[in-house]
């Protein structure tokens, strides 16, 4: 079975994000980078499929030089090889350019099933998986919490409000992983030591025949407004205080 897992390197969930003074992005010097947690579910599911049905797992990532660490993490978990799409021209890639780059790299590889996280926790756009499926012309199964493989097709579960959908499709297909799909394993020390020796192909935009044809541009990054100080309603008369509270909730907070 030829399994592909796409991963993105994102700031650690606990990283303190600071917006650059010119609003062009975030300060990325001191940040600790990790694998997007939703992509981790995808990698884990890929490894489980491989363990059960044989085959190999290829990790594909678009990102700057440091993204190699995230590819190595996936290799340390047990994936077999990697493709690192790295090009300064892709630094400002939007979802479409990222999906195009992934599609160009994956087209040349045998692929039965492709895993992506349902979204990345940094930009939360959630488009890459869907675009990738479209560019490859194959079905997509999104927000998957359970996956069963049956020879030439897969059956998945996707929860919806008050119910769950059971969906089936033929292979190849793109699956986007949602929390609950599995419990990602920790890389073992032997896995970490072996990861260094596993092959990772580094490709640039020219080698893949893609251009940075950005469809959507981040115009500006602004930090959320600082929280205003709370208000304490003083006074001796409870009824008066309650009236003032109601007025504040209605007129200032517009909550009632």
């Amino acid at each position: 079975m030829n399994i592909i897992a796409c991963v993105k390197q994102v700031p650690d969930t606990e990283a303190q994000i600071k917006v650059k003074a010119d609003g062009s992005g975030i300060e990325d010097g001191q940040i600790k980078w990790v694998m997007n947690p939703y992509d981790e579910f995808g990698v884990e599911e890929a490894l489980k499929l491989k363990e059960k049905n044989g085959g190999d797992v290829t990790i594909v990532s678009v990102g700057p030089a440091r993204a190699m660490e995230t590819i190595r993490t996936a290799l340390a978990m047990g994936a077999d090889k990697g493709i690192h799409i790295s090009d300064p021209a892709l630094d400002n890639a939007d979802a479409f350019v990222t999906a195009s780059a992934l599609a160009a790299a994956i087209k040349g590889l045998p692929h039965d099933i492709i895993f992506c996280g349902q979204r990345a926790i940094d930009d939360d756009s959630g488009q890459v998986g869907a675009m990738l499926a479209e560019l490859l012309g194959i079905p997509q199964l999104t927000l998957v919490t359970k996956l069963d493989f049956a020879g030439s097709s897969v059956k998945v579960i996707r929860p919806i409000e008050g119910a769950q959908l059971s969906i089936e499709t033929s292979l190849p297909c793109v699956v986007t992983a949602q929390k609950g799909l599995n419990e990602p394993r920790y890389a073992s020390l032997p896995g970490i030591m072996k990861a260094k020796k596993k092959p990772v192909d580094v490709k640039n935009a020219a080698a893949l025949g893609i251009a940075s044809d950005v469809k959507a541009k981040v115009a500006k990054v602004v930090p959320p407004p600082a929280r205003a100080a709370g208000k304490i309603i003083c006074g001796d008369d409870a009824a008066q205080k309650a009236a003032e509270l109601a007025r504040c909730l209605r007129e200032e907070a517009k909550a009632i």
């Binding site: 660490e69 190595r72 993490t73 340390a76 920790y186 890389a187 073992s188 020390l189 032997p190 896995g191 970490i192 030591m193 990861a195 260094k196």
Partner: protein
């Protein structure tokens, strides 16, 4: 020539392992689980199994004996121990305890001993084995033991008393340190040897979650083949060095846990209109904790790197252990002090770090690099 090493940056693999252990510790150990283990005086098997699955202990055993054939690295082991102890020191000791047995046999055992014992413990499933080193007597000295091994009719007869033997009751084998003709040696003793009497679980100041036992050896017969290293015997000095570096790494971990908790607390706790961290009395303590943790770690790494380079680390490991023992007491004490009354109650972990960390200056042979 002894101060040759000069490189403080971690390799990609070391960083990766540190991050992996830290991630596991954060999701499964720190905070409530660690508190609950201490209260329950027991370590959940599933957490020990998870740590074991990281493969830190068995990775360095050659494949022919059931390991993964990675390079033996005391430095990597100190990194793992610090991260684990930063989460919970009792867990760090229990989950890596087989290292005390495995690394000793690996480095000092005869071919037969390696074949017989390594595969037994290099199993995907965690199996306890331990070291009986400490003795319950005033002026205990690890290099002059009162437990004696006498050769008689082609066997060794062991007699003596041991204490602080972690997980003795569940251990398949114990490495017993004893004096044979005034040279210190290690003997492999089966857990069910009739000459081995395991007493009641000890009630200790700290490490509540870690079971430890007194052990009495009464005419305990051991085959000559089970003297570590056979005829040649073991390198007891190196055995102690590996243990001392490991204890220093544990001290660094528990101290760092106390430092980080107290630092974050001091930045948030407001008294007299400002966070207490902005008061010099507190700020100085936090700074001291920060640099002592670094100092401890550097001494530990220095000693480990000497071992890794294949050199004797007697001096470095003694100094690291001595320093870690003293500083762990000081730092974990500061942790309690900075939290004040909150530090004295069990709901905050600094109380536990203080009790557990106290063991570094006293205990020996509970971990191995």
């Amino acid at each position: 020539m002894e101060d040759r090493e000069f490189g403080f940056s971690m390799s990609e693999e070391q960083c990766s392992m540190k991050d992996t252990v830290a991630k596991l510790v954060k999701s499964m150990v720190s905070g409530n689980p660690s508190h609950d283990m201490d209260e329950a005086r027991a370590l959940p098997r599933e957490i020990i199994d998870k740590v074991w699955e990281l493969g830190a202990t068995v990775s360095m055993v050659p494949e022919e004996y059931g390991g993964y054939g990675m390079e033996y690295s005391p430095i990597m082991n100190t990194i793992v121990l610090e991260e684990l102890a930063c989460g919970d020191m009792a867990l760090a000791i229990a989950a890596t305890l087989p290292s005390t047995f495995i690394y000793t046999i690996l480095e000092m055992g005869t071919e037969e001993q390696k074949k017989k014992y390594l595969s037994l413990y290099c199993d995907p499933a965690y199996k306890a084995c331990t070291v009986a080193l400490n003795e319950p007597r005033f002026k205990f000295d690890a290099v002059s033991l009162e437990t004696k091994a006498e050769k008689k009719d082609g066997k060794y007869i062991l007699n003596g008393r041991k204490c602080f033997v972690p997980l003795a009751k569940d251990s398949g084998h114990l490495l017993v340190a004893a004096a044979a003709d005034s040279k210190m040696e290690l003997f492999i003793v089966e857990g069910n040897n009739p000459g081995l009497k395991i007493g009641e679980r000890e009630k200790n100041l700290g490490l509540y979650a870690l079971e430890s036992y007194p052990v009495v050896l009464e005419n305990c017969e051991v085959s000559v083949d089970d003297r570590v290293g056979g005829e040649k015997g073991c390198d007891y000095s190196r055995f102690l060095q590996k243990s001392r570096i490991a204890m220093s790494a544990l001290g660094t971990g528990v101290s760092r846990a106390s430092f980080e908790y107290a630092r974050d607390y001091a930045k948030e706790r407001v008294q007299f209109g400002e966070p207490i961290a902005s008061r010099q009395a507190i700020a100085f303590m936090i700074a001291e904790m920060a640099y002592e943790v670094d100092a401890m770690r550097l001494m530990t790494w220095k000693a480990a790197s000497a071992l890794e380079a294949g050199r004797d680390a007697k001096k470095e490991s003694y100094l690291a252990k001595l320093y870690a023992g003293e500083m762990t007491m000081k730092i974990t004490d500061y942790g309690v002090q900075i939290l004040g009354g909150h530090g004295f109650i069990r709901e905050n972990p600094v109380e536990r770090y203080y009790r557990n960390g106290r063991g570094i200056a006293i205990l020996e042979g509970m971990a191995m690099v």
